[in-house]
């Protein structure tokens, strides 16, 4: 199950929803908003998505993970809009018969989600300024740099 939501992520409901009598292991990952990045203080974060593609990419990740590990149930949720300090922007939960697979699958899903799902984070700094977060973005000022 994948979801994009404007609401707070209900970690308890997600954990409950992946628990099953056929699985011995549940792993839940939550990505939460940190107050400090190095010395800079964040007031809040906002997330925006290319929603139909984000949903489609998350569904592909769920399918791929299920092909690779014996996953019983799988939930991927990304929150959009404002995510205050200490709250979760993303949740990944999986259940598997044995724990090694649950850890591996949840970790892999988070790695791939951060790499592939078109969602963008904007930092709202305590100084009043904002920054889009674009890992690896190069701003070239010369003219003939298009791929």
């Amino acid at each position: 199950m994948v979801e994009l939501t404007q609401q707070p992520i209900d970690a308890a409901a997600i954990t409950q929803s992946v628990t099953s009598p056929t699985s011995g292991a549940v792993v839940l990952f939550l990505g939460t908003t940190r107050q400090f990045t190095d010395a800079k203080e964040t007031v809040t974060l906002t997330y925006t998505a290319y929603a139909p593609m984000a949903t489609s990419e998350m569904e592909k990740l769920e399918t791929q993970a299920k092909a690779r590990w014996p996953i019983d149930r799988c939930v991927l949720v990304h929150r959009l809009g404002e995510v205050p300090i200490g709250e979760a922007s993303v949740a990944v939960a999986v259940s598997t018969p044995h724990r090694r697979d649950a850890f591996e699958a949840a970790s892999w899903l988070m790695d791939r989600l951060k790499e592939l799902v078109p969602v963008w984070k904007k930092e709202h700094w305590a100084s009043g300024s904002t920054d889009w977060v674009h890992p690896g973005l190069v701003q070239r000022e010369d003219e003939n740099t298009l791929q």
Binding site: G31, Y47, T48, A49, Y50, P52, M53, A54, S56, E57, H78, S89, V90, M110, L113, K114, E115, L116, V117, P118, V119, W120, K121, K122, W132, V133, H134, P135, G136, L137, V138, Q139, R140, E141, E143, T145, L146, Q147
Partner: protein, 81 residues
Amino acid sequence: MIIRVKLFAVAQDLAGCEEVSLELKEPVTVGAIRQSLGQRCAALQPVLASCAFAVNNEYADNSVEVQETDEVACLPPVSGG
């Protein structure tokens, strides 16, 4: 052929709009769209080499051919999670 390109995050801020329409000669590829977009919106040019493109919700490299009915999007490096 008219191709409309959706913009997101810093690309949307730099262009000052959510979508740009481009007129291109067929056959149209993602590479041609990328180049045309940089010419149409000079403010986007510095970041375009870092952006990915998607066609109909799938990542698409410069060689992918695009039809007029396809949904095209310009995606700066993602930062979800």
